[in-house]
Symmetry: C2
Subunit: 120 residues, 2 copies
């Protein structure tokens, strides 16, 4: 009997924020986990939708004309091309689903662009 990938255990393996870690892949997509606190920069992904799934804490996804509140076990798909700015008042633990090679700052070349393909 083999164990699956335990998201809570994986989250205990790192402390840094805004640095998504790949936990597995399916086809050309990656499932990533991240710890975030504070606000990210406005950005969009012109080529792909992006799934945000909250494990712990509360995540606000600001859109230009609305805001999405996500609590644990809640998810939201930011459509491709839609500008968004993630924000968490306290540290939130989240899972992201997006194509391999998707930069965290989207079409921007931002200072906070995470190094891609960091596995945990």
């Amino acid at each position: 009997m083999t164990k699956g990938i335990n998201i809570l255990e994986k989250l205990q393996l790192f402390t840094e924020q805004w640095q998504p870690k790949v936990i597995t892949e399916m086809n050309d997509y990656q499932l990533k986990i991240a710890k975030i606190k504070g606000e990210f920069e406005w950005h969009s992904h012109s080529e792909t939708d992006e799934v945000f799934f909250v494990i712990e804490g509360k995540l606000i996804i600001h859109l230009r004309d609305d805001s999405i509140e996500l609590n644990p076990m809640e998810l939201y798909v930011v459509p491709k091309g839609v500008e968004h700015k993630p924000y968490a008042e306290e540290e939130a633990k989240i899972m992201l689903i997006e194509p391999r090679g998707t930069a965290s700052t989207g079409d921007n070349v931002g200072k906070r662009a995470a190094q891609e393909d960091e596995w945990i």
Copy 2:
């Protein structure tokens, strides 16, 4: 402020087993939730990997040469082409991620093939 998709609330909206319901899409992929109990049939998907993520309960994914045990907040990706048989002794609540149009019985034409694209 808009709410996200709450997986636990969505799971309360139906009781039938082995009938995955689409809760959202990203690009050409669908996120589905399902309640399962007992064993499914052996099958494989020749064109795609498949993500199993357990919300509640315990899921066993039998492979021909191994078995994967998944508890809540654990996930496993069945690689494309790999024969598998999901099994749950008690009802388990799971989320699946797979391309739009993926039949639940894979390359088989099984009696238990779920009607595709049933949204909830």
